[in-house]
Symmetry: C2
Subunit: 275 residues, 2 copies
Amino acid sequence: MRVAYQGESGAFSEAGAIEYFGPEITTLAQESFDRVFQAVNSQQCEAGFIPIENSRAGSIHQNYDLLAENELYITGEYYLRVRHCLIALPGTKITEIRRVISHPQALNQCRNSIKEFEIATSEPVYDTAGAVKLMASAKDTTVAAIASRRAAELYGMEILAEGIEDDPSNYTRFLVIKRQPVVVEKNAKTTLVFSLSNQPGALFKALSTFALRDIDLTKIESRPLVEKPWDYLFYIDLAGTIENPVVMRALENLREYATMLRVLGSYPRHILSAS
Amino acid sequence: MRVAYQGESGAFSEAGAIEYFGPEITTLAQESFDRVFQAVNSQQCEAGFIPIENSRAGSIHQNYDLLAENELYITGEYYLRVRHCLIALPGTKITEIRRVISHPQALNQCRNSIKEFEIATSEPVYDTAGAVKLMASAKDTTVAAIASRRAAELYGMEILAEGIEDDPSNYTRFLVIKRQPVVVEKNAKTTLVFSLSNQPGALFKALSTFALRDIDLTKIESRPLVEKPWDYLFYIDLAGTIENPVVMRALENLREYATMLRVLGSYPRHILSAS
């Protein structure tokens, strides 16, 4: 099975895809999210694995746009805990390190650890896995990189410390996209996108279609439409599958208010274990 | 007046702060969002200017966390259209450019333009303004950078093309934070953060406190709490000020359901003009 993801080899997206699908898949690095969708559309890949929200950085609207534009289905979700590693040339001692390189967000997320390790200089580069690549080719034992365990393994580097992020509850939620939907019997989640015109109480009416049928929402997010500053797009995840007649009726009801409604897929719910 | 922002000199945050406050302010670059809050808390700066959401990348949860943790107030908002420039050494012709450097997101946002300009290579670096700095010091007329107009001016570089982003509706919303709240009479917006325990229909009840009082919501966003996977934080912006007795009563009502509620400030509403 071929799975497309955005980023360099060893990126957290690739690590997540392997955790989700298993080590036997072939991962294909893409330079942008658009390319991930293209790879699935063109049948070059059977699935795409895209980040949709991060606990610190929020929802990735660009991927919601691509979901709405493409005729693909969400068939799964996966919560990946973002565990950063301090990575160096094999045989390096932590006390030798004078400089650490990584993506600015990763450096920022490991600030306390960098201080504890007494590393004098932090230097931002464009990508976490790219930092390991740079460090590996420079062959300098005073430099370390911060990236995923997979990036260390890929370049044959040594992990000096693991789980060095200051906030242990940092995670990224990924979605699996395929050309065909899946049928889910139990513990399903359904993702919708819809728009409402600017009328007082429109959102309240829309939500009442779910509340009055005891359908639980697990995510709700509004997004202003720049072209029409008074109108909104809404992203909703609900507990249940579109195969369920009650959910179906709620969606029929919502269509009466919504100026646009797309069901992006029903899929098995993943719950992040508190490990 | 001294204003703290995150990023390098010439960053979009700095450009936005100058558009909002005027050219007479002194801007102070900070290496992280935490430091922006610290600079205001410690009275080193009178105000901070922080991005809170981007039309493509979504809400910046980290800044919501910092707003909830610090005893500061939102006193204003500003929508900045993200206009990218192609920047090179003075006297360079666009046809000479072989390589373009910038932050990966900026390169991605200008993909069509890069193709039109027939620039062969895109190279990611950690920051847009940092790309201009690198390009300026390399003194190579075959290299261009993508960044803000301000970054070009700061380093005395030439703007070969402006507004080269593929999506002209790309904007970032910024918030102004100060130690004291402001009083707003008209066209106010109020930002709240609250949490609800996981009970069926809890969100619907919470929203009804506003809907039944005809208070319009301009933003709603849920955020799962990783430590308690069934509980949620909610971010709400409403039209109106907390000075208004109807809004006050709605908030009192909400306190009956919410396990936590913080009002982050009432401030004048900014509407992005469709220029």
